[in-house]
Amino acid sequence: MKPLDRRLLRYARTTRTYLADCVALGLAVAGLLIAQATLLADMITGAFLDGRSLSDLRTPMILLGAVVIGRALVAWMQEVAAFRSSAAVKAQLRSRLLEHTVRLGPGWLSEERSGELATLAIQGAEALDGYFSRYLPQLVLGCLVPTAVLSWVLRADLVAGVTIALTLPLIPIFMVLVGRAAQRKMDRQWGTLSLLAEHFLDVVAGLPTLKIFGRAAAQTQTITTITGDYARTTMSTLRVSFLSALVLELLSALAVALVAVAVGLRLLAGELGLSTALLVLMLTPEAYWPLRQLGIHYHASVEGVAAAQRIFAVLETPVPPVGTRVDLPDLASSAVRVEDVTVKYPGRAEPALQGASLDLLPGEVVALVGPSGCGKSTLAALLVGFVRPDRGRVLIGERVLAELDLDTWRRQVAYLPQHPRLFAGTIADNVRLGAHLASDDEVRRALHTAGAGFVERLPTGIDTPLGERGSGLSAGQRQRIALARTFLRDTPLVILDEPTSGLDVESEATVLDAMRQLVAGRTALLVTHRPALLTIADRVVRLDRVAVAA
């Protein structure tokens, strides 16, 4: 892994200022460390060997006090800078990610991807915390402090300086060597770990089933055994992975011991002054400390770096070209024509739609039927501009849909997806989704026409808050609220994808009446496999399963 991904600088501008802050603060840390060690060494020597009193040492004592306060201030500023910029970077990456997702559109955002993206936008961005607020500043410190300390020690005493200069590089080398061996084992271990958590979750979720079949008690033994096995394998991994910390700790401690003993012996021989010896003794551990810390924070950063790389992969997905024409033909007089369209989703062998053609004349209500998997929903998504034809074209009057500005086009279309989504907020907010300036009366009218009269009977009416995904309502009620959206949108073209799937017969009947009203005087495409819906269509078009490629 590269220590710093350049893309981070590109996508999150705050990173640049932050890096500059880190360097400035790192220099301050190194300077204050050296100042403190020098002052302490001089004063101890003065008092011990030269018999100085506290009043003789007043000035250096005050200076030392200032250094102490300075170090406290720098420590405070380091934390503030780290968390502040980490928060800003998270926000920047998150908005970029979500914006780009919207630009890529639902065609790209297939069902399995959306779960992963949601995780990435929330937990993924949060995982960057470890990287930004811990690893990155430590990386800067790890470069600056040892260099500064080493050059100072070299100036004070060549032999001690050379000892440090020779042992210091061993730290990153061993870190890499031991780290790699441990990492391989860790990776395997993480595999078992998540497998175990999954197993536990699986049996907990299936507990009612296990109880029914009298197998729950037997599972107690299994869980004890498995967790015990897990503890044993984990311990064997930890023995190796803690080795890297042990090696680093031993290296730095031995280096300190080496320097201390060597300095002590040379002091004994009179080759060195006490003040220099104390300075070297105090500074030596400081040269190793940031590197050891870097090793500790490295693991915390790995997760963040992986998340960042996944975010970048999304950001670098090219957005399909979009049309720009805003001169839409009038849908009251122009037909919508699908001409020999083939759609293939990436990663699927079979095209979702092959050579499909369909005409929607102005004011016509067409029902699209066919077995599941034949591409009905893809055809609907095609008309809303969510997917683009790989072959063939969609014509609106004389214009090709691909050339049109999609926002302008979608203002002419009301679309009810197969599983319409209700959002947290009031019922009114949900109905206003496509017409946010609509008045309360207009919302009530739309609900009434959509057969959602039950809303008026709720104690707080259209201001009733809905839980996430519209919890608290039945499937039929949710569907009718989503339908009210399309009423309020009031567009010349209506596309309804399986508007009654998942409804019981009673609910279907109410929704059906509402739908009859909706399609009156509009061009409409109804995707369905339910016979009841066919009664409101002027024409039924049958779409057959894609022929299996030879």
Partner: protein, 579 residues
């Protein structure tokens, strides 16, 4: 505090290893302090040019301590992790045993996968509290006390300032963080929650939002919320920063005070100059243990909620009271009789069932129909003893089932639930769960009965095909059929089928129902459903509404008269596919 005590109770079994971890950790820190002190003494003493022999012990000590520090730290981490893993095992088993007693009726979480996931993660988090909070805190306390004692032996006044600054950094600063942390957490949690909800909605609801031109407004709402969150986080950064600053200040002050006190003591002749460097340099090393405490406090805050949630589950009252001395199970054939049954779900005010009577005689099949929320599932839960009746009784050959061991009841009465869980293993293993001793041929026979055999044989791995997490790799209809095959393999004297065709599209549902009715012919069966197709095959139909029986009789008799059943039947028929 009670949460911490709770963790200690969980950790009882590993207290020896815990004590060892604390001891080695404290010794490791002590070695670091000792290394600094000995080195300082060695150098100071060398400055007096004594014979080299007087320094040999110190030289050896420096080398030993430098090695000891690393080795002891390694030992501490290993022992500590071992203890935490031991606690994890105890806790998993404890949670499992409790869940076994209360699931599913005593745990509303069973309806939400998210909450269940969290519970499992919480168990891991409790072990983490031990490792990241308890051990570091104890190590810092023991090592700190030792260091202060060492300094006291050298220069008592410096020991006082060291103790004061260490207490400030170890107690006052974490307290400050905890207090400020709670405050910012109160601001952050709702903000983060709203942000998460909005982001998830944006991604999952993208088709609706984009189609209705509402995506851009959502994005700007999200951006402003994210800005607010960043501001709140920057605010909390000031507190964590303050903590870091104060800890650094305390460490610096300890050194400064030791130096000032030491210089005057040396000057007045009360203190040997050789030890001056020792007293000054010890604080530099001693604060290493204290700096581990602020992160520990943050871990504790996160961990405490997990501990509370786990404790809450462990303390949950079981919805079913097991008979202290269960009576023996009556022998087959079995008649189940429900008399005046009333039942509540835990925490619910109104009864889900109120005065239901029912008789299920050997070999007879009874259907219970009604819209969702009418109490059908409650009835089934009482019959398999997931829930106790609040009035009335259920008898098995005349014996009240609450006087029987509930496992015995479930040996007789088995349920195939509407969301029967498939385990993340093969098809065969999932079916065989019902009867471990079943031969592959027996498994094939039940798979054939639920009309899955042809499909299973068409799979490259046949019955050894894994079904994936929660059966994700098979379709909804196949999932239900596998669950059904499992119930049939168990071959229970009484079979309960709770909405086996729920969550399926109508065509699939009706085919499955027909297969089901064929497979259960001649078996004592209670069939719960809201679809009426195929019910002409059962012996009796009971219509429930709001927890009460409103109609009963044979299918033919019920459709012959005007009434709720007839209305449901007409509506269902009107919707039947003419194709």
């Amino acid at each position: 505090m009670s949460s911490l005590l709770r963790v200690l109770v969980f950790a009882r079994a590993v207290r020896g290893r815990l004590a060892l971890a604390v001891l080695t950790g404290a010794l490791a820190l002590g070695a670091a302090v000792g290394l600094m002190a000995t080195s300082a003494w060695l150098i100071s003493r060398a400055a007096e040019h004594p014979p080299i022999l007087t320094l040999m012990v110190a030289i050896a000590a420096v080398r030993a301590l430098s090695i000891g520090r690393g080795v002891l730290r390694y030992a501490e981490r290993l022992v500590g992790h071992g203890a935490a893993l031991g606690v994890l095992r105890e806790l998993r088993v404890a949670v499992w045993k409790r869940l076994e007693a209360i699931a599913p009726a005593g745990l509303p979480e069973y309806r939400s996968g998210d909450l269940l996931t969290r519970l499992v993660a919480d168990v891991d988090a409790v072990a983490d509290v031990l490792l990241r909070v308890m051990i570091p805190a104890a190590v810092a306390a023991v090592a700190g006390a030792g260091t202060v004692a060492l300094v006291y032996w050298l220069l008592p006044s410096a020991a006082v300032t060291l103790l004061a600054t260490m207490l400030f950094a170890a107690v006052a600063v974490p307290w400050l963080i905890a207090r400020a942390g709670r405050r910012t957490e109160q601001r952050l949690v709702p903000l983060r929650g709203r942000l998460t909800a909005l982001a998830v909605e944006l991604i999952h609801g993208a088709p609706d939002l984009i189609a209705f031109g509402a995506a851009r407004r959502r994005l700007s709402l999200l951006a402003s919320l994210d800005g607010e969150l960043a501001k709140a986080q920057a605010c909390s950064a000031r507190t964590t920063g303050l903590a870091a600053g104060l800890t650094a200040l305390a460490a610096g002050l300890a050194g400064w005070a030791a130096l000032a006190l030491g210089i005057s003591a040396v000057h007045s002749g009360a203190f040997s100059g050789v030890a001056l460097a020792v007293v000054v340099l010890i604080p530099l090393a001693a604060f290493e243990g204290v700096t581990m405490l602020p992160p520990a406090v943050q871990h504790l805050q996160r961990g405490r909620r997990s501990v509370d949630r786990v404790s809450e589950v462990l303390d949950r009252v079981a919805p079913v009271r097991e008979a202290a001395a269960p009576v023996a199970l009556p022998s087959a054939p079995y008649t189940v009789r429900v008399v005046g049954l009333r039942a509540h779900w835990p925490g619910a005010g109104t009864p889900a069932l109120n005065g239901v009577d029912l008789e299920l005689r050997p070999g007879r099949r009874v259907a219970v129909v009604g819209s969702s929320g009418s109490g059908k599932t409650t009835l089934v839960s009482v019959l398999v003893r997931f829930l106790d009746p609040s009035a009335g009784q259920v008898t098995l050959n005349g014996t009240d089932i609450t006087t029987l061991a509930s496992d015995d009841v479930r040996c007789v009465i088995k349920l195939c639930a509407q969301d029967g869980h498939l385990f993340d293993t093969t098809i065969e293993e999932n079916v065989r769960l019902a009867r471990r001793s079943a031969t592959p041929e027996a498994v094939r026979a039940v798979l054939a009965q639920v009309r899955l055999l042809e499909w299973v044989d068409s799979l490259p791995e046949g019955a050894q095909t894994p079904v994936g997490e929660h059966g994700a790799r098979v379709s909804g209809g196949q999932r239900q059929r596998i669950a059904l095959a499992r119930a049939l393999l168990a071959d229970p004297p009484v079979l309960l089928l709770d909405e086996p065709a729920e969550h399926l599209d109508l065509a699939t549902a009706d085919v499955l129902t027909a297969d089901l009715l064929a497979a259960t012919a001649g078996r004592t069966t209670l069939f719960v459903t809201h679809r009426l197709a195929g019910l002409e095959a059962v012996d009796e139909v009971i219509v429930v509404h709001s927890g009460r029986v409103i109609q009963r009789g044979s299918h033919a008799a019920l459709i012959a008269v005007a009434g709720p059943y007839r209305r449901m039947w007409d509506r269902e028929r009107a919707a039947v596919d003419p194709v």
